[in-house]
């Protein structure tokens, strides 16, 4: 019995020894797989910090040495440290990409003669936006939105009201690098969520600021909050002069048809409303309602809307993107809807004949992770057509979307997750945005907007609590 056991042990030891040191050599490489370096960011024109690396394996998944790997730049005008390299004893072959001197995507393909297929590494030459200012805002639910016009920033700071800063207007000598508080106003009920400063081309007045109040709501079902109208014609004597109330629903984002003096407001479970805001506004202006429209198969929870080329585009959390008709505020459904079922939709922006929309979710609707930027082609009077999407991992929401006035730069804010912050995409190909850069903010950015001040493009964003702040980035270098 004892001899038998010893024999077994000896046999086992021999087998292990063979396995360690004197086994058969690795077979021919049957595949290569990515080992390192994919998906990096770097400054344009600079070498990446991590080389692209592939691992060659045989049929037993063992590494294969001395395999010749060919590297080719297939996107961008970057250069490689090695266009041909051989795998080392670990089966690894490497090359280092120096990024294209222009910001944008770069790609490099690895191939091995005799093997089918290839591997494509990507990297982005990103111009890091320059932080100009981080202006703390009271931690009283922080900052929700910002509206920038004529060098004035209207910060919707919840129960602290709307704070008006000179960021380049000149009235107080402020600038993006040195915002100066002009005044503030707290409207009835507080909960200031968003604002729109109405410039009336018919009268030349810049008298009214519309403020959206976001009251308590059950997402997808109920909402509350009025539109408050504030007279800002004298910035030293700001007063609330009127309000709009809709029973059973609360307001969210705005868009204005200023030439026709119509305020369009997303109203969550109330759909979309159109309000006549011509003339003098005073007291309860609920009678100014022109029309309202709800859509969606069973219910509606409308996040935002935008007027574009005579049509109104509305994004509904539950049913997706809609194209609506409007005839001086009289509303109708043209097409769309029921086109995003995996996630809940968030914000939208329409430009260049395309619509760009976001999603939020974090496993709520169908167990999806990450959030999408979706690209839609507008289709005349029919339904928008989904063309493409960008999946941003490690966030719960693409919370705000905007395209620069020149139509070349797309920005969205993201929150809740390691990739929270500002994200910037080139619209050189308007149907397929390509990543240009990012500015990460750990606590997340709830909303973001572009503004051109002194001929320079800035991004303004609402940094979430804790540490709520208005963040101003110089993004001129990103705008091609």
């Amino acid at each position: 019995m004892r001899r038998y056991r010893i024999t077994e042990l000896v046999t086992l030891a021999a087998a292990l020894a063979c396995g360690e040191g004197s086994g058969p050599p690795a077979g021919p490489a049957v595949r290569i797989i990515m080992s390192a370096g994919d998906g990096q960011f770097g400054a344009p024109g600079s070498p990446l910090t991590v080389p692209f690396a592939v691992l060659a394996q045989d049929q037993h998944n063992d590494p294969v040495e001395s395999v010749t790997v060919n590297w080719d730049v297939t996107g961008g005008a970057g250069s490689l440290s090695d266009t041909v390299s051989k795998t080392d004893a670990s089966g690894i072959a490497r090359t280092t990409l120096t990024l294209d001197s222009a910001a944008g995507p770069n790609s490099v393909t690895a191939t091995v003669a005799g093997l089918t297929g290839s591997l494509t590494f990507t990297a982005v030459g990103a111009v890091e936006p320059v932080l100009v200012t981080s202006l703390p805002v009271t931690q009283n639910y922080g900052l929700h939105d910002q509206f920038i016009r004529d060098g004035l920033a209207f910060l919707s700071a919840w129960n602290s009201g709307v704070l008006i800063y000179d960021v380049g207007n000149g009235i107080k000598g402020g600038s993006p690098g040195n915002p100066v508080l002009v005044d503030s106003v707290t409207t009835a009920g507080g909960e200031a969520h968003n604002a729109w400063w109405f410039h009336n081309p018919a009268t030349g007045e810049k008298k009214y600021l519309f403020i959206g109040q976001e009251g308590p709501g059950g997402i997808g079902a109920t909402s509350s909050g009025d539109i408050h109208v504030v007279d800002v014609s004298n910035l030293n004597n700001i007063q609330e002069v009127a309000f709009f109330h809709r029973a059973g629903a609360g307001t969210h984002n705005f868009w204005m048809d200023e030439p026709n003096q119509i305020l369009y407001a997303a109203y969550y479970n109330g759909g979309v409303v159109a309000i006549d805001v011509s003339g003098t506004l005073s007291g309860d202006i609920s009678s100014r309602l022109i029309d309202t429209l709800s859509f969606g198969a069973s219910n509606t929870y409308t996040w935002g809307l935008q007027l574009y080329n005579g049509s109104l585009y509305a994004i509904d959390m539950l049913s997706g993107l809609w194209q609506l008709t409007t005839n001086l505020g009289t509303l109708g459904a043209a097409g769309g809807g029921n086109n995003e079922a995996a996630r809940y939709s968030s914000d939208l922006w329409v430009a260049n004949g395309y619509a760009y929309t976001g999603t939020w979710d974090h496993f709520q609707r169908t167990g999806q992770s990450g959030s999408l930027l979706k690209i839609w082609q507008l289709n005349g009077s029919a339904a928008p057509v989904a063309l493409d999407s960008v999946l941003l991992s490690n966030v719960s929401a693409v919370s705000d979307v905007e395209v620069s006035a020149d139509g070349k730069l797309l920005m969205f804010s993201a929150e809740s997750g390691p990739n929270s912050g500002f994200w910037f995409y080139s619209l050189a190909d308007r149907a397929h945005p390509t990543l240009l850069g990012k500015y990460l903010v750990a606590s997340g950015v709830h909303t973001a907007t572009f503004a051109t001040i002194g001929g320079r493009l800035y991004a303004f964003g609402a940094k979430n609590p804790g540490g709520a702040a208005l963040i101003i980035l110089d993004v001129a270098g990103l705008d091609p």
């Binding site: 919840w158 059950g218 997808g220 496993f363 167990g367």
Partner: protein
């Protein structure tokens, strides 16, 4: 400042009015419960199990002036044993979801002065609202309604009067709930919330209560959040071997925008060394967006007043505890099982069938309650002499 001055004067008057002094007396007790819990009601549709030491507490009572001045202190060490909470489907509050949050280290620190007919109390503790803390009741598992039926760990000044079988208590306190186990109430918010409770004890062993509380911005410490209006009514019976309890609670949040109801009934009986118990609960809770990195936590500080929906939790819990120790260390092993049903209330985007990948499930807890010294007192009752002859639960 005005509230603080009133507090000092009230305590001082009650104490100095005592013309006599007696030798102070003290009593203490401690407990801890090592327990294993397993459940299939877990975000992401998993089954999870864990071993934790829950409800580790130490209590101190000091009486002076013949009991007319008392100090009640309870230290809770959950900050150290369950810093990330206790696996408990349905439990919620203080940014935890489906995990019971750890309580603050200084769970109670109350100075009580006066006699049975008139008393005042001040310190940090349980607001005179609702029912006793679940820790002083038979089941180890906390009910879902903890944040609907109790208001605790607040800085408070309390006054109570008693006439025959009726007692009336009223309190001022700070509305903000703790944000972490080490946090203290916000002194600048003291007095922004109030509560009143009427208790009737018409028969020995029988106690009823009705209470109301207005709580300013409980979930937003700076005070920007919506207010709660809370109502509670309960009947409690404890006599000889028997214990029974029925309660109903309602919280109206954000001026009625959200309504949460709870109904709970529980009973226990002592059979020699065994103490079988049962609890049925039906409670609604808000569903908030979970943070990215942890599906058991929600965002704090809040920056919106929206919720994703309301769910109703129907839970039937049954268990048995065996009292093994009669010496200095009392040991009470227990086995507790729960059937858990989850349903949506009204519309909203939160769907338990997606979030938990199920509409009902089970939880099983096995553990041992270890205790020494005095028994766990009725947390939430500070009157100098107990009404209805029920000074403490018959938990070890």
């Amino acid at each position: 400042m005005r509230h603080r001055a009133a507090l000092v004067l009230a305590i001082g008057a009650a104490v100095t009015s005592q013309a006599y002094a007696q030798r102070p007396s003290a009593d203490w007790g401690a407990q801890a419960i090592p327990a294993v819990v397993t459940t299939n009601v877990v975000p992401g549709g998993r089954t999870a199990s864990e071993l934790r030491i829950v409800q580790p507490i130490a209590m101190l009572h000091v009486d002076a002036f013949g009991g007319r001045l008392r100090l009640l202190a309870t230290a809770n060490l959950e900050q150290y044993t369950i810093p990330n909470g206790e696996l408990a489907p349905g439990n919620w509050g203080e940014s935890f979801e489906d995990r019971r949050h750890p309580h603050t280290v200084m769970h109670e620190l109350m100075l009580v002065a006066g006699g049975p007919a008139l008393f005042v109390a001040a310190g940090k503790g349980f607001v005179p609202f609702g029912t006793d803390d679940p820790m002083s009741r038979p089941a180890v598992r906390f009910p879902v309604n903890h944040h609907l039926s109790q208001i605790l760990e607040r800085a408070m000044v309390l006054a109570g009067v008693r006439a025959g079988p009726a007692a009336l208590e009223a309190a001022l306190f700070n509305g903000d709930e703790p944000v972490a186990p080490g946090s203290w109430p916000s002194w600048d918010r003291f007095g922004d919330s109030w509560a009143v409770r009427l208790t009737l004890a018409p028969l020995p062993g029988l106690e009823t209560q009705a209470s109301y509380a207005f709580v300013t911005s409980p979930e937003n410490q700076p005070g920007a959040g919506p207010d709660d209006r809370k109502t509670s009514a309960a009947v409690r019976w404890e006599r000889d071997r028997w214990y029974g309890h029925f309660e109903w609670a309602r919280t109206s949040a954000a001026t009625g925008a959200f309504l949460f109801h709870s109904m709970l009934a529980e009973a226990a009986v002592t059979l020699h060394r065994h103490r079988p118990y049962v609890r049925f609960e039906r409670t609604e809770r808000p569903e908030e967006e979970r943070v990215f990195g942890n599906r058991f936590r929600t965002r704090r500080p809040l920056f919106e007043n929206s919720i994703l929906g309301i769910t109703r939790w129907t839970i039937l819990t049954a268990g048995d505890a065996v009292d093994l120790g009669r010496g200095p260390l009392r040991c009470s092993p227990f086995l507790e099982a729960s059937w858990i049903g989850i349903a949506r209330v009204g519309a909203g985007v939160f769907d338990p069938a997606v979030w938990y990948d199920r509409g009902h499930g089970v939880a099983l807890t096995v553990g041992i309650r270890l205790a020494t010294g005095m028994r766990v007192h009725r947390m939430g009752r500070y009157q100098p002499e107990p009404m209805a002859d029920m000074p403490s639960m018959h938990v070890p």
